[in-house]
Symmetry: C2
Subunit: 230 residues, 2 copies
């Protein structure tokens, strides 16, 4: 979005650790590892064709992000989310996004609204194509954009943790039976409130939106986890 100086294709000077980190995180967030499943270092390192050193560093970061849990000398497992975790996740998410939306309105509400509207259209487009995976991705983009627009780097870094966990939830739970287009339309009141510069209403709308989503997921969570953890 902002103009950057070097238009040259960036070369990958990233360390192996970082590449491993991204691969591992995506694997977890795409559900390639089931919750509770142990991550055996030797095994994964061999499969990735790297040594255990960069792998371990990646695991430490994932642990700090809360995606996996490590017990000394006992191993690392993918974090299994309980219903309480879901409730905590969405309650806190509501607070963070409400905070973000207040800042957004106090700064440049009009431009933010138009940018968010673009993202909403992207969700709608994905919904019309019936692409559930893409809908989820664009949905994440919408909310992440809201955070970015709030221009608060610390908030953004916390969001990276919260957002990753949201994505983990989504990976484990396909909202198969919901009307995809409705997912897109649900964002409209939020955008309108921002456009109107109505802080109170925007906060209320986003809180409502997050609470609804959380309640919906929380409802399905038990039956889902029951089926998978017998």
């Amino acid at each position: 979005m902002t103009d950057r100086v070097p238009p040259l294709g960036e070369i990958q000077s990233r360390s192996l650790s970082e590449q491993v980190l991204d691969v591992l995180r995506d694997a977890i967030l795409d559900g390639d590892f089931r919750p509770g499943q142990p991550l055996v270092e030797t095994d994964i390192a061999a499969r990735l064709g790297v040594s255990r050193a960069p792998l371990r560093e990646a695991i430490r970061i994932l642990s700090a992000e809360g995606l996996v849990e490590s017990v000394p000398y006992h191993g690392t497992t993918v974090r299994a989310l309980t219903k309480t975790d879901i409730e905590e996740l969405y309650s806190l998410r509501g607070e963070l996004e409400a905070f973000a939306i207040r800042r957004v309105i106090q700064q440049d509400a009009q431009q933010a609204a138009s940018e968010l509207r673009e993202h909403m259209n992207a969700i709608l487009q994905a919904a019309e194509a019936g692409d559930l995976h893409l809908v989820n991705e664009e949905d994440r983009d919408f909310h992440r954009t809201l955070i970015v627009l709030s221009d608060h780097s610390l908030l953004l870094s916390l969001w990276n943790v919260v957002g990753a966990r949201v994505r983990l939830v989504m990976a484990l739970l396909n909202r198969r039976n919901s009307d995809l287009k409705q997912v897109a339309y649900n964002h409209v009141p939020i955008i309108e409130a921002i456009e109107a510069g109505d802080e109170a209403r925007a906060v209320q709308e986003i809180r409502q939106h997050i609470a609804n989503t959380g309640a919906l997921i929380s409802e399905f969570w038990e039956v889902e986890t029951e089926n998978k953890n017998p």
Copy 2:
């Protein structure tokens, strides 16, 4: 506080990485490393008497916590906080604590109030002894207790990041010229609002409290950093 089963002195079964992590974090948070100062792995590993492997893992975690910044092949430095960082830190902190206080009131306001009052007395006691360092520590304890009482594990884990950064600020800035006892008394309205079960007032008080602290620190920040980064 809660009764634990094994009264036997716990043996340190913690891995070297974790010990190194704690030592390093304390060193940074106590100001033993100045902001911007490079952390040379070979040097620190030698000084701690450990290999670079556990040290690097510790550094990765500190990096994820935002206390240090790592650039591939170029090194790790202690994060230097700008005035913007301070403002972001305290604005977000206000949100998190406001969220916590609402939950606390909705749960067991009376017990929370009494527990917080104990912490306030601890601050007061430290203030009367003129122990600035202890005042800071007890102050941290007060706010951390508020978070813990909110019974929200995700919030607590985010707080560990935010709280660490607050501590980092405190380490770099001695509030020498402030009335220590006043620091303690500033917490009284918060406790009273909790005791009264008045959610709105409690939220307002905590927001005020954090905003005041943030403004005070933000004010001093420029002159402090000017003196130290010529």
